[in-house]
Point group: C3
Chain length 346, copies 3
């Protein structure tokens, strides 16, 4: 892991800064948001995707760095350009173990990725924050339908349902995984934004929290499984995220959601020095209006792409169209002006 001192020294030399990320996941929103805030952007892109990203004339990055492979982040060039990296889901996935070693400033705390990457640590985090979660089950305790999740996000690919220990042994075997009870309820993905420098939003010990939107993931085959079953097929349920759709929550749930966000945020300071900027706590709401969290994404989630001009909730804090992409650009801009970048960048 690169030391915080080293990143701070780099930041201290930045006379200005640019926003950089890999052209994938939520990058168009990030580039467009930065543009709205007057910040220059750098798209790290494979040659065969450059034409695609250039075609989005009002959302493309100001400049491209073409790479052969996203696991090789062009550190030197990024440093020369005074880049700050926005670590979206694909960035974290593609850069893999190299993420922590990147010798370039990253928005947020790179420790959060270590906590997010391990499902065991993530559940430790949720439990320490006193948030209800699905029960985690040992394979030999499986008595009914249970959800098996493998390491990494990968947009839900590879998750499976097993019905018994035998089924688990047959289909999962020795692979590293986490088994969770299968909860019945509506999935809701709140997009939080934590800022230690803002003075609007829901107070936490270390700063303020905004709810920037809520989405539902659209998953294949799970979200069309009823059609297949009614057609007389017996398809296996799978959870690959194909896209996202908007949703608003019952207003009386907002209090509990803000508390969940607050506790996840405050606990991140107890555990590893804090999580900064956008994050998501993936939840399921049961018929009794109980909220269970089954995942934390310690960075911008793709569901925010539903709201490139702000959401039903961002309007509660901003008179302008405020996407998460724009919100994070503004956060960096304000922090830079106040000489507080090092608080939110590592």
């Amino acid at each position: 892991m690169v030391t915080k001192d080293k990143i701070d020294a780099i930041l201290a030399d930045y006379k200005d800064f640019k926003i950089a990320t890999i052209c994938s996941h939520s990058s168009l929103q990030i580039f467009r948001g930065a543009r709205q805030e007057g910040i220059k952007t750098i798209g790290i892109v494979k040659a065969d995707k450059k034409e695609l990203y250039e075609s989005f004339t009002h959302a493309k990055p100001d400049e491209f760095i073409v790479v052969d492979d996203y696991s090789q982040i062009p550190e030197k060039e990024l440093l020369e350009k005074n880049a700050i990296i926005i670590p979206h889901g694909s960035f974290v996935e593609y850069s893999g173990e190299n993420f922590e070693k990147l010798n370039v400033p990253i928005y947020g705390n790179r420790n959060s990725v270590i906590w997010e990457r391990s499902r065991k640590k993530m559940f430790e985090w949720l439990h320490k924050a006193k948030i209800k979660t699905p029960k985690v089950i040992k394979p030999d305790e499986i008595t009914g339908p249970a959800l098996v999740k493998f390491p990494g996000a990968k947009g839900g690919r590879g998750y499976m349902i097993v019905s018994s220990y035998e089924d688990f042994q047959l289909r999962v075997g020795d692979r590293e995984c986490m088994v969770q009870e299968f909860l019945v309820g509506v999935r809701a993905y709140p997009h939080f934004f934590f800022s230690p420098i803002s003075d609007s939003g829901y107070k936490t010990k270390q700063g303020r929290l905004e709810l920037m939107g809520v989405d539902r993931r659209v998953e294949s085959s799970a979200d069309e499984i009823a059609r297949a079953v009614s057609a007389g097929m017996k398809p296996t349920m799978s959870f690959t995220v194909i896209g996202n759709e908007p949703m608003v929550l019952r207003e009386s749930l907002l209090g509990e959601y803000m508390e969940i966000g607050k506790r996840v945020s405050e606990t991140s300071f107890d555990l590893f020095g804090g999580m900064f900027g956008p994050f998501c706590v993936e939840t399921i709401v049961t018929e009794d209006l109980e909220i269970y969290a089954f995942e934390i994404s310690a960075r911008i989630v793709a569901g925010t792409n539903v709201y490139p001009d702000g959401s039903q909730y961002s309007l509660f804090y901003y008179d302008e169209p405020m996407s998460v992409g724009r919100r994070l650009a503004r956060e960096l801009k304000v922090a830079f002006k106040k000489k507080r970048l090092s608080e939110i960048v590592y």
Copy 2:
């Protein structure tokens, strides 16, 4: 019930007015809409929710009245502040039988709540308006799946499916309820707005009708039941509203929807002197494009929260972002200027 004369006398003394409601349901949209129209707002709030509502810097009310219990509406204070109450779903639910006795002006006609509260009266209303409804069944006529609904809205909590008379006796017993045939089709919730003073929108005998948006409710467990079934579970279907999502209707259905709104509106004048402002006629559309109504909400519905800056339909009438919250604030503002408040407030 407070007399109309008494409310009119109060209104006659109002030199100006503020908009007041309980902090729940659709209150953030209402407060923000009033703010957009330059009208001051009062949030009636329990102490433990005040911080939450204060955190929404661009949607919070201008002032709070803190109460111990929402069944105790602070009438005296509201009168002193020249308040007009906006009766959203939670307001009606929380204030209960006291609603009709409130000695404070309420936007709309408080008689409409009496007609809305009783499912029997509601179906009488729908039938008088010549609108197709699901069949209402006597318990001993249940031969297949039927929906059992209890009094009050409660966001769908407690609704259940019974499969036979025996099942009904076992699970419902003597409780007051209405049994309806279970219809298969797409649920659509049109948000209507009736104004006797506007000159745009669809003509009715008493005024104009606008379609301000359409949503679909997201219900737990009903909207995720396919996943549970495919996972091998046998969950009970329940209908607690967790949130709402946007939808647009096939354009060729708009004519029939406006007719439904018109007939519900006109019939409200025949039955109880008219319903004013926002209302919703909850519907199901079958594969033959037949529209069945199964409920009337004679006030703003939470589904309007999907559109705090206006919907695909509000654009047909307004060049500005026009939520239902803003629309009702404007209605009150215009009526106040034209000295016609007493027509739409009781």
Copy 3:
């Protein structure tokens, strides 16, 4: 079929132009979009729908032509008014075989409707464009659930699932139809716009392609079938489109979607001289992120009604609210100024 020369001669006489279409399908979006671009509009309407369309004060056409029957398009009057017809789905359906003979300029290439109308030709088009499709099956090859589609769009009405050849013989018989394998996955409907005169968007051999939005159709009973099944019913699955809802795609799928749009567009030039303006390639995305196309709509689709002020994707190309209705009005306006109308009108 009217000759291109004849239409060109008509266009050459137009000193100005108006946009005309039948009051249905996506007409409100089209009228409003034209209004935003300063172009006058004509609504072809049946007497009993005139009041409805007049009630939409900010989206109604500037003038109406009242007809008894939509199969009788008032050609003479439209020519006198210098009309260019926008052929939406209902227009094509209602005008039927007369469509090709209409002696009025139509935006786009009327040959595209011939290719769209025949499912056989449509699949030939998709295959020539090297796009994956569901397998087309001969009735006697049916071994499991298969989808039976009849000619014409009709918003999905009448499509059915058959489970075997016997089932097919019983329920379909000798009717003209196409049988397709039933694919399990998430349906996504990308709204493309092809322009030979624009210089922004994704390059094709003949011009530029924009992605103006993505929707999901809401179908009765298919989208509520799980509720019915869980309630203990055995409903037949049907696919009547009741409405549409918004969706965004996983950003990493955009490259493949733009390639699909490009190949469909380029192939249209090889086959019949090109398709112009809005079109949709109806797709299903499987759990392996494979995209299958099962239909082409060679004109504006009703799903664009979800985005009358632009979508998450139109923002990538435009700083203004840009619906497909507005986009096509602008295209005609620019082409008229550049004296290039005849390239995109036939």
